[in-house]
């Protein structure tokens, strides 16, 4: 039987971590873009647009991410579309992330005082101009801490994609365990790597929250 040193294990896990990071980034950036679109629909003046965004958000927040991954992976296969694991993983995570970011950001937009909308409207601005120049710059400041905080959930969410066969950190952990028969060491290291990714994110969320002094800057 071949002996594996701890370094062998760690090296393989770190190589797989690249995919966890990449998938997290794709989900977060893609989810941010889709989320922004959803946000605009959610606060639109059109009833149909608002309803669409509302049901989208309820659907994606109300079902397990795992089911969404399965549906993206197996469901599209039913229509004869061959979906590789990385695509299904990316797609499901983007859509899932978008539903949460849209709702976080809606809260931030709605926390901006009505008077800001009224003042900008009475100066002749259209709705998009109000959003672009008056509401979003203020909402963004409030949105930064919870958004960064949510990115932790995205990183941890990528672990689920191991189930549909995407080889990221968790899947690599399983593979390495099967070869080394050292589950405690391997999963211990996996957990540590996740922690090393997530902890700085939650910490920076806290620091940003204090720095932007969200509660005490309104006028």
């Amino acid at each position: 039987m071949i002996e594996f040193s701890t370094w062998d294990i760690l090296r393989n896990l770190l190589l797989a971590t690249r995919w966890t990071i990449l998938l997290s980034l794709v989900s977060f950036v893609g989810g941010g873009a889709v989320g922004l679109l959803l946000l605009f629909l959610r606060i639109s003046k059109r009833k149909a647009a608002r309803a669409f965004a509302k049901y989208y958000i309820e659907l994606f927040q109300g079902t397990p991410l795992l089911m969404q991954l399965f549906l993206a992976f197996f469901g599209l296969g039913l229509f004869g579309i061959d979906v590789p694991a990385w695509l299904a993983a990316g797609l499901a995570l983007v859509l899932w992330t978008a539903s949460f970011l849209a709702e976080i950001w809606r809260g931030c937009v709605e926390s901006i005082a009505r008077g800001q909308w009224e003042a900008s409207a009475s100066l002749g601005m259209g709705r998009l101009q109000q959003m672009r120049y008056v509401i979003l710059p203020q909402a963004l400041k409030i949105a930064v801490p919870p958004t960064v905080g949510f990115s932790v959930q995205v990183v941890k969410g990528t672990a689920l994609t191991s189930i549909i066969g995407f080889v990221e950190l968790s899947k690599a952990g399983t593979v390495v365990t099967n070869a080394t028969f050292q589950p405690f060491t391997v999963y211990g290291l996996v957990a540590l790597i996740y922690f090393a990714l997530c902890w700085p994110l939650s910490k920076s969320s806290q620091i940003l929250e204090r720095k932007l002094n969200v509660a005490h800057r309104n006028h």
């Binding site: 009224e118 100066l123 002749g124 008056v134 800057r217």
Partner: protein, 241 residues
Amino acid sequence: MSLIEITEVRKSYGTNEVLKGINLDVEPGEVIAIIGKSGSGKSTLLRCINGLETITQGSISVAGAQLIDDEVHLKALRLKVGMIFQQFNLFPHLTAGGNVMLSQSVVKKTAKAEAEAMARKMLDRVGLGHKFEAYPDELSGGQQQRVAIARALAMQPIALLCDEITSALDPELVAEVLAVVRELAAEGMTLLMVTHEMKFARDVCSRVVFMHQGRVHEIGRPEEVFANPKTPELQQFLGMH
């Protein structure tokens, strides 16, 4: 033709009718004070004039621009009437100068240098030229309200709506804001103001409108309205029995 024509305007929230057929014509250069108890519909009337509230019936036009509830018509109307609010509503993420420049560049597409020159001129006009770089939270309430006036003036409106603009100010700051308004009135700006400053209304306004239960209850020159109120409601409101 009058500058502002308000004809048979009605406004309901559900079954609650807050404006019950308002008629009011305002001539260019007039300064109108709208007084009345809270809940009499005076603020609602003002907010209807620039489309912040939709009206249920009737019509409003300002210098030929009709109040119609779509973005194009509302914009045309709002370029003609500026509005100043009780809570100032300055944009907190922009400096005083930025506040005055924003709508010029965004709405009128004025070039930056030109918008800045206009902003400086307007801030000077309200006595705050030196506060161009200050953020709203570095200004007193009175200064913030004067920036808000400068911001409205920079769009070169032909009329200004003032919605209880001194009600959120500490008493010692009221005078500086009223001084600016008084100056505007002297320069011939058309003003419609909802106010509780009776002395100011008496001194500066050309007409006083007393609103009661969603109707124009009494209207006239300030010396008549204040000295000889005809209706018992106005007498009571003015504290005369």
